[in-house]
């Protein structure tokens, strides 16, 4: 097969190409029409003329120049109007018509400034006196290839030029032998190949042997664990070694005249590994090179493994952030647990004192014992909540009330806020529709934002430390919450960077909290934004989709 572009052409130098036309029918038209050639044809006239021109021969250079398929048989069967650029048709028909009035061996020329990628085109036509058929006209086309245009066309052109440069394993396969078998079967009256194959399953084997790989790219070689491309240039049987069923389905697609066939498949490589791939087969249609069926494989294994690893890393990261937040809240947590413990202790001591008296107030002691039990339960709940937050977990998405998520998160930081004299103001929309999400993860986001705000408020006098938490409906189909503080705020220039990771204005800050918040919000198909509210301070808004099942909007 000649190289895609002859060297002269790729350097933009003139190239010549020959066409031979049988103009008998076309010239016959000239005799009957009012105008006999020359310039000024009515449009209708020249099209009818060209429709009667038959292509007898065309040189390889012409095929290249006109960017036509190699299959000459196909080219000569088509009307010239579909093969030549429209911008050249008028000149060609004029040339051919003019030759009708010229003597044999007269050379006429026509020029065309630009015909698609070709510039400075010169058409030279003549009728040879010693040709077997006097009505055979030869036309040579000389042109300069606009190299930039050619390159663009080259890149867009059919796969023959792309095989080495695509970063996807790609095989060229010659499936014509199978096509011929199908033709014979059809001639024998077979219409349902699936049925036929059930009765003659050996045909699948045969097909795998007669269909051969003619080219394979570097990525294909790598995928198959081969050392050399030549190892791949053999019958396609090896591609379907693990999946004869796949081969069968490809055959069915071929038989049915489908353009494409895709399916998930397993492939055994030459070094014994099994790869999960997405198999894509594209069959050629008339006009394209019929000897080239494209087979591509997109390796799923690597992709699936990478996705799984990434999910694991995200989960680990998220977990680490939760532990870090909990670590920061140790004092809060200790304080929270102390409350029920203190009550238990005091109530127990009171009970003992009663029981030590001569006349114990037993109903009172019973009441105290009940209070002890209740306090112990409260302590257990607090610990459970913390363990929940600290645990490594598989996310479970359930229907949630955002208001509850926020209230629970506030519980975590309540003591901390009180310590720092932070006044938390709540404005929760009680009619908020539910959302779907992972409770602990969303709490993590809220806690993170609250902790950040609390830390920002260190910079402000105690009596001015405020955090505003609100839930609201942003637009139909979504719910939102915002957390605003009365602190120094975030500089406008940093508003976009805050989620970028390792951004922190705190001395010991690691700055991973907001990145995790963003990744959790994104996983919930929501959006988190940092703002500079007009009243000052910093504000974070999170919008989440509402549960579509209960949406009333």
């Amino acid at each position: 097969m000649p190289s895609p572009l002859a060297p002269e052409m790729s350097r933009g130098r003139p190239a010549a190409a020959y066409w031979q036309f049988d103009v008998a029918d076309a010239w016959a038209l000239l005799d009957t029409s009012v105008t006999k050639g020359g310039p000024g044809w009515a449009r209708d006239g020249f099209e009818r003329f060209l429709a009667r021109v038959r292509i007898v021969a065309v040189s390889e250079a012409a095929l290249l120049l006109f960017d036509l398929p190699w299959d000459r048989a196909r080219v000569t069967a088509r009307p010239i109007g579909s093969l030549w650029p429209e911008s050249g048709l008028a000149a060609l028909s004029d040339l051919l018509a003019s030759l009708a009035n010229a003597e044999a061996d007269t050379i006429l020329t026509r020029q065309i400034d630009r015909m698609d990628r070709l510039t400075d085109v010169v058409l030279t036509g003549w009728r040879s006196s010693d040709a077997p058929n006097p009505l055979l006209v030869s036309v040579s086309v000389q042109a300069t290839l606009d190299s930039r245009e050619a390159l663009l066309a080259f890149e867009e052109s059919p796969p023959r030029s792309l095989i080495s440069s695509l970063p996807i394993p790609l095989w060229h396969v010659d499936a014509r032998a199978a096509g011929r078998v199908f033709d014979r079967l059809r001639a024998d009256g077979v219409t349902d190949l699936d049925d036929y194959l059930s009765r003659r399953p050996d045909l699948v084997e045969v097909a795998c042997e007669i269909v051969v790989v003619t080219e394979a790219n570097r990525d294909a070689v790598e995928l198959m664990g081969a050392g050399d491309p030549s190892e791949l240039l053999r019958p396609v049987s090896y591609l379907f070694s693990m999946a004869r069923e796949t081969a069968r389905r490809v055959m069915l697609a071929h038989f049915a005249g489908q353009r494409n066939h895709t399916e998930q498949a397993k492939v055994r490589t030459f070094d014994g590994r099994v790869r999960d791939v997405l198999l894509l087969v594209t069959f050629p249609v008339p006009g394209e090179q019929l000897d080239t069926t494209l087979v591509m494989m997109i390796d799923n294994t690597a992709r699936l493994e990478a996705e799984a690893r990434l999910r694991q890393i995200e989960a680990d990261f998220s977990h680490a952030a939760r532990l870090s937040t909990l670590g920061q809240m140790t004092a809060s947590i200790a304080h929270e647990i102390k409350q029920p413990l203190s009550a238990i202790l005091t109530n127990a001591e009171t009970s003992l004192r009663w029981l030590a008296k001569a006349d114990p107030n037993l109903p009172k002691v019973t009441q105290l014992a009940e209070r002890i039990a209740a306090s112990a339960q409260r302590a257990a709940d607090i610990i459970a909540r913390i363990q929940d937050m600290a645990g490594k977990r598989q996310p479970r998405h359930v229907q949630l009330d955002l208001n509850e998520v926020i209230r629970e998160a506030l519980n975590f930081v309540r003591h901390d806020s009180e310590e720092r004299s932070i006044h938390v103001r709540l404005k929760l929309d009680e009619d908020l529709p539910p959302t779907i999400g992972e409770r602990i993860q969303l709490q993590q986001v809220v806690v993170n934002l609250l902790v950040n705000s609390a830390q920002a408020l260190e910079a402000v006098a105690p009596e001015e430390r405020e955090i505003y938490v609100a839930t609201y409906r942003e637009e139909p189909g979504s719910v939102a919450f915002s957390i605003r503080d009365s602190g120094p705020g975030i500089p406008a220039a940093d508003l976009d960077r805050v989620f970028g990771g390792f951004f922190s204005t705190k001395e010991a800050g690691m700055g991973i909290g907001l990145t995790i918040c963003q990744s959790i919000v994104a996983a919930h198909r929501g959006v988190i934004t940092a703002l500079q509210p007009p009243a000052g301070g910093a504000e974070f808004r999170v919008v989440l989709p509402a549960d579509p099942r209960t949406s009333q909007d």
Partner: protein, 112 residues
């Protein structure tokens, strides 16, 4: 905790009244009505310390015992310098509370 303390004080043999906030206490306050005030530092609204300040004006001789979950020396020093009789940290040691109460109420032994 409020109820627990009230019950503890009663088993000591004293009478106790519990209030949910500084404001509700002040609403019920009249000089001489109470023998001692036990208050948490952390109150909704006005804090325990602020309450102590108010009482300085209203009834300077009323003994105040402050309790808190924070074992913060700075807070305790502050409380004592404001004239609190004692600063106790939770969980409250009942024996210690009894001692302070007794001192506050000026009685050698509680009624049995």
């Amino acid at each position: 905790m409020r109820d627990a303390l009230a019950d503890l004080i009663e088993v000591f043999g004293f009478e106790a009244r519990a209030f949910g906030s500084s404001e509700s206490f002040l609403a019920a306050h009249a000089p001489g009505l109470f023998g001692c005030l036990i208050t948490d530092l952390n109150l909704p609204g006005e804090s325990g310390l602020q309450l102590r300040q108010r009482l300085r004006a209203l009834e300077p001789s009323l003994p105040v015992i402050i309790i808190s979950a924070q074992a913060n020396p700075a807070a305790s020093a502050l409380a004592l310098s404001c004239g609190a009789l004692a600063y106790l940290t939770k969980p409250i040691n009942d024996q210690v509370l009894l001692q302070h109460l007794t001192l506050a109420l000026g009685q050698a032994t509680p009624r049995a």
